[in-house]
């Protein structure tokens, strides 16, 4: 499998481009890109370029270097460069649209990028799409500059030899839904480990020896996948990952993938949940692990974001598909100005980076309304549904609550 990546950048045109400039540039770009196996798209609006390049890693990086030297633009900023599982623009050697601010809202045909969303619906809901949406909303225009140096990832930690599996305490799962409030739909369930019907995850975890945690973690995920499959899970499956697993990370990913495949759950429906704090200890290993997971098509949620020692700088090193807000941030937010301000800042940062936000632990209708007004769409909490023991409980959706 080749190492597919996408690189999304913006830049400022050094002079106003005419129709003719574009046709010359695009003709060259398209034939070159086809021969290089590069796909992607290019937007131009009022002197600002916004481009997605996707293809084999070394080719994209080399091409980006060439692009950077091009005198027709300047102040090139790499917004995102990361591995992808598949192309968002596989049919396009270079999609292109030019628009003014006025017609941004109602463009048809090939240019219906932003409204009828033919293109936006054709591409999956990955990062490229989110950044395009952010761009549509006026982000990432012109102000940025020059070239981003990409940081090579540390070499992958050597996978430990698989240990003999000891008998472990019996455990099972409860499932709690995550809802999309704007679509009024369940998008997925989080699998929560349980010892019995009334217990909590802590009951199970307390009984596990430190040395067994890695194997437990791997088994738990496989078991959760099997469970979810038997229960007929339709949407995403959120699985918790213990930081303990970094060293044996590739192995555990593989085993999860295998199980998912066998159970008929598409890999793209699996979301790995990683506690924000767990990312602090070894950023290089985490970064490598996240890249590997993403390359395989898994999605990552950084859970409990904003808690403890874990900082915003995480988002400087890598950009997960989604983050879950720390509970303290959600609690009574409707009446807590500082939490609101912090949340608005996070919303700003995440929308600029194409990172989804899940509000977890939402307990009251007031919390829900406030967050909803700020544009949060994904929710989980007692307000919608308690975790269902060995079942997929249907959530109450906001209108039902009202």
């Amino acid at each position: 499998m080749s190492n597919l990546i996408h690189l999304i950048y913006n830049s400022a045109a050094t002079y106003p481009f005419t129709e003719e400039d574009f046709s010359v540039m695009l003709r060259k770009a398209r034939s070159k890109n086809a021969s290089l196996d590069i796909t992607g798209m290019l937007l131009y609006i009022e002197g600002c370029f916004f481009q997605v390049l996707e293809g084999p890693e070394n080719v994209v990086i080399e091409l980006a270097e060439t692009v950077r030297q091009d005198p027709r633009h300047t102040r090139m900023t790499t917004i995102i460069q990361e591995p992808i599982a598949k192309r968002a623009f596989s049919e396009w050697t270079m999609g292109f649209t030019q628009m003014s601010l006025i017609n941004l809202g109602d463009i048809e045909g090939l240019n219906d990028f932003f409204t009828i969303c033919k293109v936006l619906t054709d591409i999956d809901s990955g990062r490229a799409k989110k950044l395009l949406t952010a761009f549509k909303q006026g982000r990432w225009r012109v102000k940025l500059s020059v070239a981003t140096q990409y940081q090579p990832l540390a070499t992958r930690a050597v996978a430990k030899k698989r240990r003999v599996i000891e008998p472990r305490p019996a455990f099972t799962f409860a499932f709690q839904p995550i809802v999309d409030a704007s679509r009024r739909a369940v998008v997925g369930y989080e699998a929560l480990v349980r010892a019995d019907k009334t217990g909590t995850a802590a009951d199970v975890l307390q009984r596990i020896q430190l040395g067994e945690l890695g194997a437990f973690d791997e088994d738990a995920r496989r078991m959760a996948i099997g469970f979810a499959s038997r229960l007929g899970l339709a949407g995403n499956l959120h699985l918790n990952v213990f930081p303990h697993s970094w060293a044996s990370a590739p192995k555990t990913i593989d085993s999860s993938l295998e199980t998912a495949k066998r159970c008929g759950i598409d890999i793209t429906r699996i979301v790995f949940e990683l506690k924000h704090e767990a990312t602090v200890s070894d950023p290089c290993a985490v970064s490598e692990w996240l890249s590997e997971s993403r390359r395989l098509g898994l999605r990552i949620n950084i859970d409990d974001f904003g808690s403890g020692y874990a900082g915003l700088a995480l988002l400087d090193h890598y950009q997960p598909e989604m983050i879950s807000l720390s509970m303290w941030l959600v609690r009574s937010i409707e009446s807590h100005g500082a939490r609101q301000a912090i949340l608005r800042g996070l919303v700003q940062t995440c929308s600029d980076l194409g990172v989804d936000i899940i509000a977890k632990g939402v307990e009251t209708i007031e919390e829900y309304f406030w967050l909803r007004d700020e544009g949060i769409e994904l929710f989980q909490g007692f307000l919608f549904a308690k975790p269902g023991f060995e079942s997929l409980p249907p959530p109450m959706l906001p209108a039902d609550i009202m």
Partner: protein, 237 residues
């Protein structure tokens, strides 16, 4: 053992007003050895006393040098947030009194909180900080946005300013994720009426990007290097 140490001062500039907003007092060895050199000579147990003593000396020297503006002083929050320890209140009281004796007003003092993750008792910390604030003393959170986020501190305690960690400042003009983080921090701080100081600004490109986003308080080599036992003059870009 009484260890010799002294201070260098580095300005924080207000580029809107084109004036020096404050001088941060940076601890130095007697021959301009860096801060770490000084800190390493103290055991953890001694750090607290050192922390309190250092502020008094920094104020005294600053006043002798004719400090015309604010002075930023580092504070280990632990020094202040130990509610078992009555001396911590007294120490801050002493600091304010000494500043006044030196001819400085309490509202010229800005306490920079670093290592805020070590605050064990939030409520106590906030209470003590508010006691100082009532006297006019201001607060800043240092190294904001990198490593420890300080978001939960910010939810409970809004300082007058936060200092954007230089890790986020570095090369910001061509680092997309950093830009997004800084915009978010700006949004939060704007909403909370907290000034942002961009620390460690070294290049004109970094300065311009940050300036363009509305930041007007800056510190870094681009403006002035720390000056040993002196208040350096500022170069405005």
């Amino acid at each position: 053992m009484v260890l010799e140490f002294t201070f260098a001062y580095q300005p924080i500039v207000d580029v809107d007003k084109r004036e020096t907003h404050s001088f941060e007092a940076l601890v130095r060895g007697p021959n301009n050895e860096p801060a770490n050199w000084v800190l390493k000579q103290h055991t953890t147990a001694q750090l607290r006393t050192f922390d309190m003593d250092a502020r008094l000396r920094a104020i005294r020297l600053g006043a002798q040098l004719g400090l015309p503006c604010h002075i930023n002083l580092n504070l280990l929050p632990d020094t202040m947030a130990d509610c078992e320890e009555k001396s911590s209140v007294d120490a801050l009281q002493t600091m304010v009194e000494m500043a006044e004796q030196c001819g400085l007003k309490p509202d010229q003092l800005v306490l920079e909180l670093s290592e805020t993750e070590t605050i064990k008792d939030f409520d106590c910390f906030v209470e003590r900080a508010n006691q100082c604030r009532r006297l006019g003393v201001k607060f800043a959170i240092d190294d904001f946005g990198s490593g420890y986020s300080g978001l939960n501190l910010l939810a409970e305690f809004q300082p007058e300013s936060v200092k954007l960690d230089m890790v986020l400042v570095r090369d910001i003009e061509h680092r997309g994720p950093r830009q997004a983080i800084v915009r978010g921090v700006l949004r939060t701080c704007e909403d909370l009426g907290i000034d942002i100081v961009a620390e460690g600004v070294e290049t004109i490109a970094e300065y311009e990007w940050l300036r363009n986003e509305g930041i007007f308080l800056f510190q870094g080599y681009l403006f002035a290097r720390p000056a040993f036992e002196a208040l350096p003059t500022v170069t405005f870009p």
